[in-house]
Symmetry: C3
Subunit: 269 residues, 3 copies
Amino acid sequence: MKVEVYKILEKVRAQKPVVHHLTNWVTIYDCANVVKVLGASPVMAHAKEEVAEMARIASALVLNIGTLTVDFVEAMKIAAFSANEKGIPVILDVCGAGATELRDKKSFELLDTVKINIIKGNASEIARISGEKVKTKGVDSAQVNADLLSLAKKLAVNRKCAVVITGKEDMITNGEKHFIVKNGHPMMAHVVGTGCMAASVIGAFSAVEKDLVLAAASALVCFEVAAECAAKISKGPATFKEKMFDCLYNLDKKTIKAMQKVEFFLNKT
Amino acid sequence: MKVEVYKILEKVRAQKPVVHHLTNWVTIYDCANVVKVLGASPVMAHAKEEVAEMARIASALVLNIGTLTVDFVEAMKIAAFSANEKGIPVILDVCGAGATELRDKKSFELLDTVKINIIKGNASEIARISGEKVKTKGVDSAQVNADLLSLAKKLAVNRKCAVVITGKEDMITNGEKHFIVKNGHPMMAHVVGTGCMAASVIGAFSAVEKDLVLAAASALVCFEVAAECAAKISKGPATFKEKMFDCLYNLDKKTIKAMQKVEFFLNKT
Amino acid sequence: MKVEVYKILEKVRAQKPVVHHLTNWVTIYDCANVVKVLGASPVMAHAKEEVAEMARIASALVLNIGTLTVDFVEAMKIAAFSANEKGIPVILDVCGAGATELRDKKSFELLDTVKINIIKGNASEIARISGEKVKTKGVDSAQVNADLLSLAKKLAVNRKCAVVITGKEDMITNGEKHFIVKNGHPMMAHVVGTGCMAASVIGAFSAVEKDLVLAAASALVCFEVAAECAAKISKGPATFKEKMFDCLYNLDKKTIKAMQKVEFFLNKT
């Protein structure tokens, strides 16, 4: 099956969905900007008095616990509850899960309190959220000795949601349908925020495509094809990042079709 | 009348005014940096214990409600009260007004509590602050079916201040004197934060020029001429943004004079 | 004596230390990113419930009061206390000291409450922390009429720590051993955040080298050699900043050896 990635990017550009974020203070600009260069409309708002209303304007909600506080997570719950009521997808980036008790506790609290439609993290973060005893080293991924796809599937089934593990190969699954995305470039690991940005791109794509595993896989393909194009014309991580935004803005059907490396498969029955 | 834009930029570069900001967490870096590349001195400080003192060091105060909270607006009031006492201009960017009740309520609260010297927003934000029933889609401008200049004039007269509406054509008015700035480039709409940065540039210019409509118009001309120069040498929104900063830093009298598109007129009596 | 700067950079790249930050909201991204391009692992976390645990994962802690609040400084104390217990170096950037009473008070409070291993600031900030009556203009350095090295030495001896004064010539001292770094480029003053980034680079270097004056001096050499390389290929402050990151990422032994301008001397006895 040839996955029609480009069609979803076209929908994002045509529909210009509002993507509401409650995210971290480190990469907040890049999360907003990556949504903007896609042609969509980012909005960042975290006051507990307005998040419910802002989420109702939006077509997707992206939560990221990168610089969480207790109060901030309370605002996330209010926003997510509103998003759930409206029926728009909620993406949770479990940034730094496994690094501290607070991150684990608050991730589980969010998963238990509101409906999360897509859980996204790197290997060690998702392993931790799946209940594995992984100690992560800050916000960068640690080694995980497990079959990642099985982990992701199990978590997806348990939480009745889509799960995205980013890494050299990205795994996207809802427990039944699975995508493996093999695009991307090692330079992405030398830039702060590529993981956060990936969640924002997934947010924009899931705003226009109801099949959330397809949306997430397509989002990652586009983002990572842009990264590959950028790597070809960069001499270091900072020019790489800039070119990645430019390439995402200029990304066309032909380039995506020629470069996409995505596999789709269903559970064997 | 030929507006002498360059002279005000020269004053900014010579006097290096401190521009105090209480702004949003998304574009805070770019707001600081745009002031810096102009040759002025940005300072970002929001603790309620220090904002009054910091505003007293400054020559202009820029407020932006992009990621407001109730407490943050209280700090804005303290800073603005101090700025009012010192007699330095206060610029309010009503970022996202119309998107939520909180934004409207807090914008009006600021306007009613302290003296705002320049209100700045896009068409739908200013329409909302003028009392029109506009529902904005997040922080990007929505369609406004109204004569924008009349709206701006009315607001300026009611609030006894200057009003700036940014857009394809920028309108700057205090109800008696009006400027229309026709510089700028469509690429500005593909980068997060150009509106916020415009407010910061206005802050720097109003710090050195008492005629606030002239200051604001000149600020927008410089910022947008830089954008036009940047667009000529960019291949996407990220390189465009970088070049915009470079071009603003390198902006000279000759370029401004050759490229400025600004009209000035007075109310007919 | 030839200072072996490159060896410490190699250690950073090999050991990839986690550098925990509680820093300001303006330059937080650049602080994280400069640590990342060095090959180390930045983590930004400020919730009082998790900072102690996060500091225990880390190999250095960087504190920066650029956008301080009372609560934020409380979290800094918790993090620093944890870092002290673990024995990892704590770097304090007294950003904006001298601008407001709050900044002075909180800087002294931190210095009196927890062990700070490296105090870093520009001339007027360090003068203020040394007890001189300097009024700074926001976060940019003011003129200081004093022998800076004597000031730094006195502060180092009083506080039993290393002191770093950045400027055209950087001074690094623990009261006995002194380094003067003469690298750097005037363009650094036209970019917001170079001072904050310098503190983060010092954090990464001090994570792998126990001789903290050597670590700090080596950090500044690398950062500023990268700046010099970047200046050669830039046309303005924004491209300069981008190239500075690229150059730091690509920095090699040969370049450092050829370009480093660092003097070392001991107190005469």
